[in-house]
């Protein structure tokens, strides 16, 4: 659309400037503590929506739900270097993982059974063990998930 009338242009410019200022001045609501730690320690590579970076960082959404229904998958999420080595406590890591569960992997339709959340004790139990080859382990786990063989499903109502 081409606006020829100078007065109309001026009015639109002023309206845009005011609306920009108003939106910029909106106070931020305090970020959830788990999401904040996710921002600081994960989001740089994994992105706010967990989509990652093609070729460098995997898409959490493509395998997260399936893995987190198994004990081995939950161990994987706690033990990957980005989680295990992050300079945060077990409680903080549990909150970060719960942010992934609640906000990134949540099913908006509500039809999929919700994932079990982490607590500090579960993180503390899994965290001391390191993973030698992350890519190999993830590939193995995903293959096991697809075949349903060799994985221990998380008991419900934990």
């Amino acid at each position: 659309m081409v606006i020829h009338n100078p007065l109309t242009r001026l009015a639109l410019t002023i309206t845009f400037a005011i609306s920009t200022q108003l939106s910029a001045a909106q106070p931020l609501t305090e970020t959830d503590v788990g999401e904040f730690d996710y921002m600081i320690h994960c989001q740089g590579c994994h992105q706010a929506d967990g989509s990652g970076t093609p070729g460098a960082t995997p898409d959490l959404r493509s395998y997260g739900t399936a893995l987190l229904r198994t004990v081995e998958g939950r161990q994987y999420f706690v033990r990957v270097p980005g989680s295990r080595n992050a300079p945060i406590t077990d409680l903080q890591l549990a909150r970060v993982l719960n942010h992934i569960i609640d906000d990134i992997l949540a099913d908006p339709s509500g039809q999929v059974e919700p994932l079990q959340r982490f607590d500090e004790a579960e993180v503390a139990a899994y965290r001391p063990t390191a993973i030698d080859n992350v890519d190999l382990l993830r590939a193995t786990l995903l293959q096991q998930v697809s075949t349903g063989i060799g994985l221990q499903l998380v008991s419900q109502g934990r």
Partner: protein, 179 residues
């Protein structure tokens, strides 16, 4: 000759007797030269210390400081050229560059409200390094074996071009003063 012609004739002769063509050319030349030289004078252009870069404000309430200066609060952990000095801003890339989706994220305290803000230092990529307003603040910076907390990495690795141009500093989250 009518009266109008006579009037013009007298005026023209008067001008010709009082002035010279060389004098006129001299004055025009002086004006042109002075006009071109004025921008070269060492006048103050802001106190951020970078020639040719004026003071800036974000225009957002509660966001104090100059986004074109290294001591701007959002830049507490920035390492690179400020996009604010390179044709972009603290939150946007210069024309012709692409903002890298992968980035490093630090925490800076806003002196206005004392809260801790998560700042995403997305790099702009695709053009030769800007070279203006180099800042190297390392609050919270960690060694490269903690890559997600290291600002020496070329974060353009997530963009189409890995050529680094400049860095932004955008607020993505906020926590109370104890975070």
């Amino acid at each position: 000759m009518n009266m109008f012609d006579s009037l013009i004739d007298k005026a023209s002769r008067g001008v010709a007797q009082r002035t010279s063509r060389r004098g006129f050319l001299t004055k025009v030349s002086a004006a042109l030269f002075a006009g071109a030289a004025i921008p070269l004078l060492p006048v103050a252009r802001g106190d951020n210390g970078y020639p040719g870069v004026g003071d800036q404000v974000s225009g957002i309430d509660g966001d104090p400081g100059d986004p074109s200066a290294c001591d701007y609060w959002r830049y507490c952990a920035i390492d690179g050229f400020l996009c604010s000095c390179c044709g972009g801003s603290a939150g946007s890339c210069p024309p012709g560059t692409e903002m890298s989706p992968t980035t490093w994220i630090g925490i800076c305290k806003n002196p206005e409200d004392g809260l801790n803000y998560a700042i995403s230092y997305n790099d702009c990529c695709g053009k030769t390094s800007c070279g203006r307003c180099l800042c190297n603040n390392n609050e919270g910076d960690r060694p490269v074996y903690m890559p997600y907390a290291n600002n020496d990495i070329n974060w353009c690795l997530g963009a189409k071009s890995t050529v680094y141009t400049c860095s932004t500093g955008m607020v993505i989250g906020v926590r109370g003063g104890d975070s």
